[in-house]
């Protein structure tokens, strides 16, 4: 069935057939697997097809994203706060920048929160961590539910692709473009150029197909558009848009 997501080995075999290199004389498995993973991550980065949920229970005031224990995260998105570790999700933490906090409360860095006021703001001190404000008092256990686009990887041949199965054949032009443009005895820049243009056409087709998915889809799946501003600057309920 075409709806079945192929494995890394199946994708690699398709690429090898098009490269006319079935035995790996010119391109090693490791090289092609790298290109296939790059292909999947490029599509995931551009279209954010696959999202994940991870729940972190902690008393910490900030969480390091490099040691995040949930499904690997591509970028941070929604964080929902639950008090007590057994509560259901209560509300979404408002994402703010440190400059926003400077404006809201000039001395926010000095707040210690001994009263245990529940945190309601999330901010990032750098790309690898997320912190909460008012800061947790360090003893109460809180639960944070993260929803985010995941980092897609296939490490062994039996791993299946994670992005939708209808994107599977776009792996061929992408990998051939990368393989032919790599310096070496099999380099062929003319073929690389043609495959690159073929890949660009595939990207347009994937975009139009994704746009046809339940046409009024969630804005969160169209990064950089109205979503962020809606969260940061809530519009009035009236007049209706």
């Amino acid at each position: 069935m075409l709806s079945t997501k192929p494995t890394l080995a199946t994708l690699r075999a398709s690429v090898r057939r098009e490269l006319l290199d079935p035995t790996g004389k010119w391109w090693s498995n490791a090289e092609l697997d790298g290109y296939i993973n790059d292909w999947q991550q490029s599509l995931q980065s551009q279209f954010e097809f696959v999202w994940g949920v991870s729940t972190i229970t902690t008393t910490d005031t900030s969480i390091s994203l490099s040691t995040f224990t949930g499904t690997p995260m591509m970028r941070l998105d929604a964080i929902y706060f639950c008090a007590g570790g057994t509560d259901t999700c209560t509300s979404r933490m408002a994402p703010r920048t440190m400059s926003d906090l400077d404006t809201l409360q000039r001395d926010w860095r000095g707040v210690t929160n001994p009263e245990g006021v529940l945190p309601c703001v999330s901010y990032q001190t750098d790309a690898n961590s997320v912190a909460f404000f008012p800061p947790p008092n360090g003893t109460s256990t809180y639960q944070y539910e993260f929803e985010y686009p995941v980092l897609c990887t296939m490490t062994v041949g039996t791993n299946t692709m994670q992005i939708p199965a209808w994107t599977q054949f776009s792996v061929i032009p992408y990998c051939l473009y990368r393989a032919y443009s790599r310096f070496g005895p099999a380099q062929d820049l003319r073929k690389a150029g043609r495959r690159r243009r073929q890949w660009d056409r595939k990207l347009s087709r994937i975009k139009s197909t994704w746009d046809a998915f339940l046409p009024d889809k969630a804005e969160q799946l169209r990064p950089g558009r109205r979503w962020a501003s809606d969260i940061l600057r809530t519009r009035p309920g009236w007049p209706p848009r």
Binding site: L2, S3, R17, C89, S91, A212, F213, A218, E219, I231
Partner: protein, 225 residues
């Protein structure tokens, strides 16, 4: 003739695979099918049941039977599409809304819907959308119920994919030819139902419309009139 034999004829391999292994042919035909299905999104539409259990938040789409989901219906009523941003605007703790029959849905990712509010019982919704093409994996599989113009375009697209590596100029020609068949099919679709009403309006373009595809004709003749 089946799709496979049509493609083999385009490659001058009617007697069997010589320059292309058979798996390459299957790949090319399946890829061409994807290209056509994603271009002609509404030439086939099917539905599949979306079974929702009590309290479920994220629901897996029936993506083994539907490739491009387009709308969701319950009991003849379309479920409203919404966005997480709008739910958030409505109420910050929207996740704590009590259970009820879901009235709204958000496309959460390519494989999941989020129904809102969360379901208070078991319901069977129906998802409508474009189905998956039949996978071509041997000489007996074929595509059925398809317009001859679309089938021709499919064969040419598959041939173009196969010729890309060794005969790029010919591959380009095959793609152009495939586009022509797709445009002919699109014109055929355009002329069914509504457009005919326009033709019947006296003194508008009735006589010109009878001449066929005006725009394509101009392009072929190189005329700017």
């Amino acid at each position: 003739m089946s799709l496979l034999t049509d493609v083999q004829m385009q490659l001058d391999e009617s007697q069997g695979p010589v320059f292309w292994v058979i798996e390459q042919l299957y790949d090319a035909i399946n890829e061409a099918q994807f290209e056509l299905y994603t271009t002609l999104k509404d030439w086939q539409r099917v539905s599949a049941v979306l079974a929702v259990g009590t309290g479920q938040d994220l629901i897996s789409l029936p993506n083994t039977s539907i490739m491009i989901p387009q709308f969701v219906v319950y009991n003849g009523i379309k479920i409203f599409p919404t966005t997480t941003a709008l739910l958030q605007d409505w109420q910050n703790n929207w996740k704590n809304e009590g259970l009820a029959r879901p009235n709204w849905m958000v496309l959460w990712d390519a494989d999941h819907l989020r129904l809102f509010p969360r379901s208070d019982a078991s319901y069977n919704f129906n998802v409508w959308g474009t189905p998956w093409p039949t996978q071509i994996q041997d000489g007996t599989h074929d595509i059925t119920g398809i317009d001859p113009l679309v089938k021709k375009a499919l064969v040419l697209r598959a041939a173009a994919l196969l010729l890309e590596e060794t005969q790029p100029a010919l591959a380009d020609a095959k793609v152009v030819e495939a586009y022509e068949f797709e445009h002919r099919f699109a014109r055929q679709q355009r002329n069914s139902q509504g457009s005919n009403i326009t033709r019947l309006r006296p003194g508008v373009a009735w006589d010109v419309a009878q001449q066929g595809d005006i725009i394509v004709g101009r392009q072929f003749l190189g005329s700017t009139n």
